[in-house]
Structures are given as structure tokens and as C-alpha cells.
């Protein structure tokens, strides 16, 4: 303090009292003050830092709306809606579908809202009749053992316990399920049945989506027919006079870079020019055709065997896998469509989705030409679906034709019958429809928007990846028949494959865009395990691969178990496929028993199941005692079912089981992977 003392200077004047100059702040004070300020600043800054080090923690709290309208009727009235879509959803799929339906509604003259049945008083359902032109749609998912989803439990209980009168309540149901489960779509089925029992009016059939197949596709197919039915029922004109409900907008680019135009690729541009593994659905491999020969000696059908060269592709496969090929349409049909629609097929175009939120920007890879779209991307051979006819109706200048088209797309029995006979039974494809209805002149871009995508075709591979790793075999029958309109229906893929020449004129080999889809159809792990293979017709395909593999194992000195084949065809001298190869396998002891049923070589029809029955004792021993694996490949509709019934019979007759026990027995074999199916319809 002493050194800080201010030197007292005596003032000059005699009477002026010495004023002690006291500074407001001494140096020490300033020092302390700045220290405190500094500390405070540090404090605040470090406070902020500590906040940053705290880990992010977001916990989803259930949204609790304080005041909820529990009456969906009131809500509908308040918001002027006439359609309500309820969802029974566990994982959000049904809820999503509901949202899409509600959104679509306005395009069909309805005003829709989606609703969670758990949030509303479902007992108000009868009141829906109070609203004019109202409709209740249900997207119901089935959970577990045929149970309702959590949010639909109360609604389910209500349906069961009550006997309310649902007169005047229009409804439709779409079920979300999975075919591999026993109680496939139980909730959807129950809702549809019960609402009708309670007096509701079903305005469109129950839709059954299969998640084991393609749920999205099932939903889209269902709603494409659902909406026309709705329009028909309420007498609402979905399209109006000239307005049409387009999903895509046609854009003809002026500045075209041909390098950016798609010429048939499935995914990446130029993926056909510069091939890069891995090869899959979006990036198929262009395999060359090494072999293409006819298998049958006589008859009016054409059965063929092709070998695709996959060397250099790094593609690996197992016998039993499937090969997927991307076919293209018949050039003449494409040209005809261009002619009849008066369009320049080589115009480069792009179809852009009007719904900007949609993930699907284009209906097919764009930009491209109409020619490419109709050749590579669109299905022009299958009969057009009803929604296509409905949308095209506006382009018919003859009002009678307009009526016919709209009627065929409607849910009325007359319309359905007309569609069945005129389109389905007569196998009319889009070209035939255009030709047989001359007043119909749609724009080509709208048509391209409406036609479904050309799908890849799958064939069971007829070779073994272990024996022939660089080659994939296909065994197929060409689809070709006369329709009632005098036209020839030609299967797209089979005709395209048939015409694949091994070496073309200019020395180039024909190519097939393909990829391998792994299946679960496999030989048993142990070579010593007996196998029973049943594959009539082209169903023999995977078994050629199995036999090649068993032969290879035998050559390696492995102990190979009994290998039994049941094959069926029409006549020995006509279509005994792979006769030579099979007899060679038999001679080599690889095929221990060859049973062939020639259906037309004698008075009565003889099929594979008849031959199975003849060997019932031996078969039962193999199955029950020797752990045999059973494989069935071919026609799903009749053959597979007949064969399965035969196995039930064998279990009952030789095994002494009751029918119920036999059914359970075969089912158990399936669960344990000892009864496998590779069937198609």
C-alpha cells in the first residue's frame, strides 16, 4: 500500500483545504475486477463446452395429442371427406399403403383420409352411412399366427363381439400377408367376410398381398382395379371430359446427347458396352449362346436346349439355381404399334413423374426412344389390364367403343364377363385391341406410361456349376398358339431364345442378358443320401444338373446313394427329352432308376404319379427309413398337386397313417428341407 500512496502535494493557495484524492479504483481493484470478469467469462465458455460433450440422446416419445377427436365420422364431416382408409399395421407397410390410397382419392373424385383404428371409436362404423357417397377401405396386415396387428386388436374384437348393422356402409379390403405362413392373410379375409356379414356393401374384391412374392406389385395391381370400381359404383367420372390422370409428363428434349440415351440397359448407362461384375438384376451379363438345339424329334411343339457361355463373367452357380434372362419384344409388333399410332418411334423422349416426392422418377429408364421402350422395357404381348383399358377409353372417338372399354374395366358382372371373353380368352394384346377397335387412337406416350414393365424370365438351370462352371444350360418349350382371333400368340422369351443363332452372319455371336438368382433347391449335403426326383416335361431341367453332379461325385469315388428319376412326356418318339443323356447316366450307374411315363403312348393317360404309385413300397422305405430327399419340378397347377396327393396316399397305404397324419408328415418333410418344390404356373 505504501508504494501505492499518492504523494501529497501541498496546494498553492493558503485557504484551500487539502483534498485527499481518493481514486475510485485502485490498481488492485482493477486487477481483482478484471480477474473476476475473466473468471466469469471462462466459466460461461466452459459451460458451453460441457454442453457439447454431452452425447446426443434422442428418445422417441409417443406422441400424445391432448385433445383428440375420437370420432372419425365427426372428423370426416368437419374436413369434408367421404373416404376413410383404416390401417392395421405393425411395421408401417399397411399404413403407407393407406396414405397412398388417401392421396390418390382426389384423382378419382373422392376426398380421403387415412386413420389408425386404435385412435378412433370403431363402433361408429355404422354411422358412415350418414355421409353421402362414403367409403371405408381397410388395409389389414396379418401378424403371427393369423392375428391382428396391435393397433387393430380392438377393432378385431369389436367385429367379433358385435352385431351392428352396417347397412349403407360401402367397404373394400386389401390384406397384407405372406404365403409361407399358414394363416395367409387371415385378418384381411376375416375383415372382408365379416363386414359383409354385418350388412356392409363390398364394392371391390378383397386384395391379398403376398410379401413372399411382391407385396408392392400386388397392392398396385389391386388398386388399379379398385379405383375404376369405385368410380363405377359412385357414378363418378374419374377422367372427366378431356382431363386425364397422367402420372408422368412427356418431355421431348431438344438438346440430345446420344451418349446419355438408354438403348436397353436395365441400370447403369452403357452397362452393355462396358461390362463390370458383379452381375445382377440391374447389371445383367451379356452371355453368348454356345449351343441352341431342338430337343424333340417330332410333334408340333419346339423344345430346346441352350447353353450360355459365362466364362469371364465370374458368375458362379449351383445346380438348382435359376437363370434370369431379359428378353426383347418382336420387332414386327413394335413396328406395327408405331404405325397404328402414327408415331415416329425413334423420337428421343423422357417420361417424368409428376409426383416429385415419388422415388420412381420414370416408368422405365429415360431418356430413351419409343422404339427402345416398346422393344426392351414394356410388356406388349400380355393382355392389357383393366386400368389400361379404362385410361385409354378417352381416346376412342366412337362413343360406343368408349363405353365398351370403360365397361370392361368396371366391377360389374357384365363388364367383367366382357373383359374375360374379349380380352383374356381371346388373348388380345394391346396391338390387337388397337387393331380391333379402329376408333381408338391413344397418344403413344400415354400408352407407354400405362403398359407394365417387361419382366425378366426365369428358367431352372439344366447344368451343374461344379461340372460346367463356365456354362449355363436352359431347357425350355417355345410358347406359340393360335388365338380365337386368328392371330398367333408367341411367348416373348421363348421365341426370342429360339431365334438366338449361335453364329450370326457377320460372325458375331448372339447374346443373352442374364444373371443367376440363387435358389434353395439343392441336392442333399451327403452324397450317400438317396434322392427322388420328379420332373415331367421341361421340369427335368434342374435334374440334369443334379445328375451331372451326382455323376461327378461318383467319379470322385464318393459313396453315392440311390438316385431315382420320374420323368413324363407325351410320346417316346416325340419328346423324350435328353433320352440319350439319361440312358447314359443309367448305364453308368449314376441314375439308379429311370421311370418314364408316356402319357399318349397307350389307351389311358399315364402320368408320373401313376408310376410313383407302382413303386410305393420302395418309395416309403426310402422316405421313412433312408432319409430320402424328394424334389418336384415343373407344373404347379396340376402335376405338383397330384404328386403331393400321391405321397399322401403312399404314406397312408404303406405307412399306415391317417390322412391327417400323412398331410402333417409331408409338411414336416418340407420344413426339414426334405421335400422341395421348384414349380411354376
Amino acid at each position: 500500500m505504501e508504494d501505492m500512496e499518492v504523494e501529497r502535494v501541498a496546494p498553492e493557495g493558503p485557504d484551500v483545504a487539502p483534498v485527499e484524492e481518493e481514486p475510485l479504483f485502485t490498481n488492485l481493484d482493477i486487477f481483482l475486477f478484471s480477474l473476476i470478469v475473466g473468471l466469469l467469462v471462462y466459466w460461461f465458455l466452459s459451460r458451453k463446452k460441457s454442453e457439447e460433450t454431452i452425447p446426443e440422446f434422442k428418445r422417441l416419445t409417443p406422441v400424445v395429442t391432448p385433445q383428440r377427436e375420437t370420432s372419425f365420422i365427426e372428423k370426416m364431416k368437419k374436413t369434408n371427406r367421404n373416404m376413410v382408409v383404416f390401417y392395421g399395421s405393425q411395421t408401417g407397410t399397411a399404413e403407407e399403403f393407406c396414405g397412398r390410397l388417401a392421396k390418390d382419392a382426389q384423382r378419382y373424385g373422392m376426398r380421403g383420409m387415412s386413420a389408425d383404428p386404435e385412435e378412433y371409436d370403431m363402433s361408429e362404423l355404422p354411422r358412415l352411412a350418414e355421409i353421402d357417397n362414403s367409403l371405408a377401405v381397410f388395409c389389414m396386415a396379418t401378424y403371427g399366427e393369423g392375428d391382428p396387428t396391435d393397433n387393430a386388436q380392438d377393432f378385431y374384437d369389436w367385429m367379433q363381439e358385435n352385431d351392428e348393422d352396417l347397412k349403407g356402409v360401402n367397404f373394400a379390403v386389401f390384406g397384407l400377408g405372406n404365403k409361407t405362413y399358414e394363416h395367409f392373410n387371415a385378418m384381411g379375409k376375416y375383415t372382408d367376410k365379416r363386414l359383409e356379414e354385418l350388412g356392409g356393401k363390398r364394392i371391390y374384391d378383397l386384395g391379398m398381398g403376398d410379401d413372399d412374392g411382391n407385396l408392392e406389385e400386388d397392392f398396385v395391381s389391386w388398386k388399379e382395379q379398385f379405383w375404376p370400381a369405385v368410380c363405377e359404383h359412385f357414378g363418378v367420372e374419374a377422367t372427366g371430359d378431356d382431363t386425364s390422370i397422367r402420372q408422368y409428363e412427356l418431355v421431348v428434349p431438344t438438346d440430345i446427347n446420344m451418349n446419355k440415351v438408354y438403348t436397353g440397359e436395365m441400370g447403369r448407362l452403357k452397362s452393355f458396352e462396358t461390362q463390370k461384375p458383379p452381375f445382377d438384376a440391374k447389371n445383367p451379363y451379356l452371355a453368348t449362346v454356345a449351343v441352341n438345339r431342338q430337343l424333340n424329334q417330332a410333334g408340333d411343339r419346339h423344345l430346346m436346349h441352350l447353353e450360355l457361355d459365362i466364362s469371364g463373367s465370374k458368375i458362379r452357380y449351383d445346380s438348382g439355381d435359376h437363370v434370369a434372362v431379359y428378353p426383347v419384344n418382336d420387332v414386327s409388333i413394335v413396328n406395327r404399334i408405331g404405325q397404328i399410332l402414327d408415331a415416329d418411334l425413334d423420337t428421343v423422349i423422357s417420361l417424368n413423374n409428376l409426383d416429385e416426392e415419388s422415388n420412381k422418377k420414370h416408368p422405365f429408364p429415360c431418356p430413351t426412344t419409343y422404339r427402345t421402350a416398346l422393344t426392351h422395357y414394356l410388356d406388349i404381348t400380355n393382355p392389357p389390364r383393366t386400368n389400361v383399358l379404362f385410361e385409354l377409353a378417352q381416346y376412342a372417338t366412337d362413343p360406343k367403343d368408349q363405353d365398351t372399354l370403360r365397361k370392361m374395366a368396371s366391377a360389374s358382372p357384365e363388364g367383367k364377363g366382357l373383359y374375360q371373353s374379349w380380352v383374356l380368352d381371346a388373348q388380345r394384346n394391346i396391338l390387337a385391341v388397337l387393331e380391333d377397335m379402329p376408333s381408338l387412337h391413344p397418344t403413344i406416350d400415354h400408352l407407354c406410361e400405362l403398359l407394365p414393365r417387361l419382366q425378366a424370365r426365369y428358367y431352372s438351370i439344366a447344368s451343374s456349376g461344379k461340372v460346367y462352371p463356365t456354362m449355363v444350360s436352359i431347357c425350355a418349350v417355345v410358347v406359340e398358339f393360335q388365338t380365337s382371333t386368328g392371330r398367333t400368340f408367341k411367348g416373348v422369351a421363348t421365341n426370342w431364345l429360339k431365334n438366338k443363332v449361335v453364329v450370326t452372319d457377320n460372325g458375331h455371336k448372339a447374346t443373352v442378358p442374364m444373371y443367376v438368382r440363387k435358389s434353395q433347391f439343392r441336392l442333399p449335403f451327403k452324397a450317400s443320401n438317396p434322392v427322388v426326383m420328379i420332373g415331367p416335361g421341361t421340369g427335368i431341367a434342374p435334374f440334369m444338373g443334379f445328375l451331372q453332379e451326382r455323376g461327378w461325385m461318383k467319379e470322385q469315388g464318393k459313396d453315392v446313394g440311390e438316385t431315382i428319376l420320374y420323368f413324363g412326356c407325351r410320346r417316346r418318339n416325340e419328346d423324350f427329352l435328353y433320352q440319350q443323356e439319361l440312358e447314359e447316366f443309367e448305364k453308368a450307374g449314376v441314375l439308379t432308376q429311370l421311370n418314364v411315363a408316356f402319357s399318349r403312348d397307350q389307351e389311358g393317360k399315364v402320368y408320373v404319379q401313376h408310376l410313383l404309385k407302382k413303386n410305393k413300397e420302395h418309395l416309403w422305405k426310402l422316405i421313412h427309413t433312408d432319409n430320402a430327399h424328394i424334389y418336384i419340378c415343373g407344373d404347379a397347377r396340376n402335376m405338383a398337386r397330384d404328386v403331393q396327393n400321391t405321397f399322401y396316399d403312399i404314406a397312408e397305404e404303406v405307412g399306415g397313417l391317417t390322412h391327417t397324419q400323412a398331410v402333417a408328415y409331408i409338411k414336416k418333410l418340407m420344413t426339414k428341407g426334405r421335400y422341395s418344390l421348384d414349380v411354376w404356373s
Binding site: 481493484d29 475486477f33 405393425q90 411395421t91 440363387k518
Partner: protein, 297 residues
């Protein structure tokens, strides 16, 4: 506990198929696993991003151990039939998901509870000493992933709003076209494994143990998340405390200062919630100190 397990293995030995026996023996454990707090919340969509990330960390450790053990023993007669690396392997997809959520340096950020370490240790042990028991673990994890796991994938996507499958590679099996048919194939492969009576019993016990290990991981993960919640609050206060203790060491210069320091300390212990309160108090203290300084000197 031991006797309980032995009893379970005695049941249903009439069906000599491994796939049937293993299902029967683990039936109860399966129910218990589904009903852990974590799984119940998960099924209801109450899964937070933090929980999912922690789960992925544990899955990484588990699958690393399992798949290493399987790869090392791929030719073992009890492993070869069920060895499906192309179709089933999860390690790469988990790594991709972890990178998506944690960034390039995800390996340094992995956090796992004790139960996960125990599980991974057990897998490595079996890989070395008893590879014939690996099928029990492969069955428990992979077939689970192909069944209920698929549903969990959709729930995760919806609850966390993940778009385009990002962060969900774990749930996707591009090599399996039909989970159901694949499970059938897998079962037939399991049934082709030849085991002696003792080995079989041991394998079935291991299956029960596999479920228990999974249940422990779920429970530990659940605890971890609740602790993280509480810890975040504690960290908030301890960092503040640390700061003020730091400041108090500076103020040893004068009595006035010492008083200030002590009063600062006292203030922080009293106030650990409201930042505004603290700020106001801080200003008051500063003013008080200044005032004292002026008054004293």
C-alpha cells in the same frame, strides 16, 4: 440351473432330427428372449438411434467372433454342411452400417457391454475347442435374423426414419431369395450333421446357452441406455464443477479474493440446474467483489 438345462435336453429326443430337437430345447429361451425389455420396446417401435447404434456395436463383436470361428472351421464335418458365407455372412454389412452412423473412425467408437464380451469370448472358445457346437450359435443367430429379424428391420426403418436402406444393411440378405425356403434348406443341412450322443447333448445345451448369452446382451444394452441417460445429466454438472474448482485455485491472492472463491464454490454446489440463475448469481458475486474492493481499499 444345470438340472433345468439337462431336463430340457431330455425332452423330445424321440425325433432324432437335430433341427427339431434344437427347436424344442430352445423354445422357452426363445420366448424369454422375445420378452426382454429391449425386445419388447423394439417391437413397439420404441427404438432410439442411440439404442440401435449400440446394438450394432454388439452385433459387430458377436458376428466377428462367430464368423471367424466358422471360417476357421469351414471344413470341420459339423460346420461344412451349414457353412453359407455368401448367403449369410453379416460382418461386412454391420461394418457398413457402423460406418454410416459413426463415420470413418467407427472402430474407435465401438462401445460394448460386458455381456457382449462374454458372448464373443464364448464363441472364440468354441471355435477353438468345440467346433461341433458352432451350429448351435449359427442356428440361433442366423435363423433368427431370417425370421423375426426381418420384421425388426422394417420397424427400425420406420422408427428411425431411415431412407433407402441406409444403415440397415444388417437386415438385408441379398443372397437369399426366399428366407423361408432357405430355412428349410438350412434345417436339412443341420440334420445331415453326424454327432455322437454326448456331442449332441452338449450341442443342445450350447443352443440354450446361446439364447441366454443373447438375452444377457439385450439386458445389458437396455441398462447401458438408461445409464447413458442418467450419465448425461451427471456429466453436465461435473464438468461445471470442475470448471469452478479450476477458477478457485487462481484466487489465492487476497482475503477478498479467497472469500470470493469460497463463495463461488458454495454457489456452484447449490446451483446445478438453471443456467440463468447461475449467470445472475455470477454477476452478483462479481459486483459484490468489486464493491468490497472499492470499500476496502
Amino acid at each position: 440351473m444345470e438340472t433345468e438345462k439337462k431336463m430340457q435336453t431330455q425332452v423330445e429326443l424321440t425325433d432324432s432330427d437335430l433341427s427339431e430337437q434344437i427347436k424344442a430345447v430352445t423354445k422357452d429361451s426363445h420366448v424369454r428372449a422375445e420378452n426382454t425389455e429391449l425386445m419388447l420396446a423394439y417391437q413397439r417401435g420404441n427404438i432410439s438411434l442411440t439404442q440401435y447404434k449400440l446394438l450394432l456395436c454388439s452385433l459387430y463383436e458377436i458376428y466377428q467372433a462367430l464368423e471367424e470361428a466358422l471360417d476357421n472351421n469351414s471344413n470341420h464335418p459339423s460346420v461344412a454342411p451349414i457353412y453359407f458365407p455368401l448367403e449369410l455372412a453379416r460382418l461386412e454389412s454391420v461394418e457398413r452400417d457402423l460406418e454410416h452412423f459413426y463415420g470413418q473412425d467407427w472402430r474407435e467408437k465401438i462401445v460394448v457391454p460386458a455381456a457382449t464380451k462374454i458372448y464373443a469370448h464364448r464363441l472364440r472358445q468354441i471355435g477353438k475347442d468345440n467346433p461341433e457346437y458352432l451350429v448351435a450359435h449359427a442356428y440361433t443367430r442366423y435363423l433368427g435374423d431370417l425370421s423375426g429379424g426381418q420384421v425388426l428391420g422394417r420397424i427400425t426403418q420406420k422408427s428411425l426414419g431411415l431412407k433407402g436402406g441406409e444403415g440397415l444393411s444388417f437386415f438385408s440378405f441379398p443372397g437369399v431369395s426366399s428366407p423361408n425356403l432357405f430355412k428349410q434348406l438350412y434345417r436339412s443341412r443341420m440334420n445331415s450333421i453326424e454327432l455322437e450322443e454326448e456331442e449332441r447333448k452338449g450341442m443342445l445345451e450350447e443352443a440354450v446357452r446361446a439364447f441366454e448369452l443373447n438375452i444377457q446382451v439385450f439386458d445389458d444394452l437396455q441398462k447401458m441406455v438408461s445409464v447413458t441417460e442418467r450419465e448425461s445429466e451427471l456429466m453436465h454438472t461435473t464438468t461445471r464443477n470442475r470448471c469452478t474448482r479450476h477458477t478457485s485455485t487462481h484466487s489465492k491472492l487476497a482475503d477478498g479474493e479467497k472469500l470470493t472463491a469460497r463463495s463461488l464454490q458454495i454457489q456452484t454446489s447449490l446451483v446445478n440446474a438453471s443456467p440463468l440463475f447461475r449467470m445472475v448469481l455470477g454477476i452478483c458475486v462479481a459486483l459484490a467483489t468489486v464493491g468490497m474492493g472499492i470499500y476496502a481499499f
